[in-house]
């Protein structure tokens, strides 16, 4: 029995490898077949070479016999010229025997030549077939390798695709975390605003500025109080006059102020 790891691995592999039988690699079979064809081609070529050698030997023998036959013909002619008809007869009968051998050899030579031509043609055809097979074999191997790589990639991805369910979960987690961070940021802003947390960024006011603001705020309050008091004292129309008067006063004060600066 195998553990969870192996069984899960097996399931993924089974899914990815349906198309491929891992037990037998067709590439090896193809290479073996090619090797066999090469051997056969080699045998045929050796056969062609053997036949060609035999043919050459026959040709040498034929040349020898023909020169011998020529010699006997000459001897016969000379014997006749010398009046030795018996000698001439002997020479010619030997030549006839030789001629018979020559004819036999010529037949053999023709047969061998025909065989050699046939074998040469067969070797050429076989060579072409083996070449074609080699090309096809390489194509099949390349296709197989590509298919295998594709399956492996498919396998790697099928493992990943099984995890796609997890991606939704991961997004959920990321969203939760973002919301949590946002909530935390909001809380920090509130705490900073209330003064419970010191701000290290320098964006918020320091205590001196806060005191100054408080003071200036106080001044505003004092000013407002004075204005309201003046309003109440002079009534609504008086208040209106007071504002206008104030304007007149500030305009009137301007020339007075200037000499004061000069004195200083």
């Amino acid at each position: 029995m195998s553990g969870v790891m192996k069984r899960m691995g097996m399931i993924f592999r089974a899914k990815a490898n349906k198309a491929l039988d891992r037990a037998e690699d067709p590439r090896e079979t193809l290479d073996y077949s090619y090797q066999k064809q090469l051997e056969l081609l080699q045998k045929v070529r050796r056969g062609v070479a053997d036949v060609a050698t035999s043919r050459k030997r026959l040709e040498l023998q034929l040349n020898q016999l023909q020169s011998q036959s020529g010699k006997l013909e000459d001897q016969g002619r000379k014997a006749l010229a010398l009046g030795r008809e018996d000698l001439a007869r002997e020479a010619l009968s030997r030549r006839a025997a030789l001629q018979q051998q020559v004819t036999d050899l010529e037949t053999q030579h023709a047969t061998l030549q025909g065989e050699e031509e046939k074998l040469t043609l067969a070797a050429q055809r076989l060579q072409a077939k083996v070449d074609a097979f080699r090309t096809k074999k390489e194509t099949i191997k390349a296709t197989y390798t590509a298919a295998q790589a594709q399956t492996r990639i498919g396998e790697a991805f099928s493992g990943i695709s099984e995890e796609m369910g997890d991606v939704g979960l991961a997004i959920q987690r990321a969203e939760d975390k973002t919301a949590q961070l946002q909530a935390r940021a909001g809380a920090i802003d509130e705490l900073l605003a209330s003064g419970a947390l010191d701000d290290q960024s320098g964006m918020h006011k320091d205590d001196i500025q806060a005191e100054l603001d408080r003071l200036s705020g106080g001044t505003d309050v004092e000013l407002e109080l004075q204005r309201m008091k003046a309003e109440l004292a002079g009534g609504p129309s008086a208040g209106q006059q007071a504002i206008e008067g104030g304007d007149e006063q500030s305009r009137a004060q301007q020339p007075q102020d200037t000499p004061r600066f000069d004195k200083q």
Binding site: M8, G9, R152, E155, A156, G159
Partner: protein
């Protein structure tokens, strides 16, 4: 040897560690089959942390066929059982 932890990615592991991991893995299978939930959680956590300790994480862009596959750390016993019984593809024990 490449081990995939679902939801995490792949880890390269020396074969010498396999015997140790296999023991935990067998335990995990037994707990899954007997329905021992707490035991399953404990063993899965132990197995995954051992894989992390012993293994070298593979970069995310690496595309290697996994030799072994482990469930995600938060996978429940039911989820793993479902994964293993899928399509009837598992060869018999």
């Amino acid at each position: 040897m490449i081990v995939r932890v679902m939801g995490e990615g792949q880890v390269a592991l020396a074969e010498s560690h396999l015997a140790e991991l296999n023991k935990l893995d067998e335990e995990l299978l037994t707990e899954m089959e007997t329905g021992d939930g707490p035991g399953f959680r404990r063993t899965l956590t132990a197995l995954l942390s051992r894989v992390h300790e012993l293994g070298e994480p593979l970069p995310d862009e690496a595309l290697e066929p996994s030799d072994l596959i482990l469930p995600a750390p938060d996978a429940t016993i039911e989820e793993v059982r479902e994964l293993l019984s899928e399509d009837g593809l598992i060869p018999g024990p």
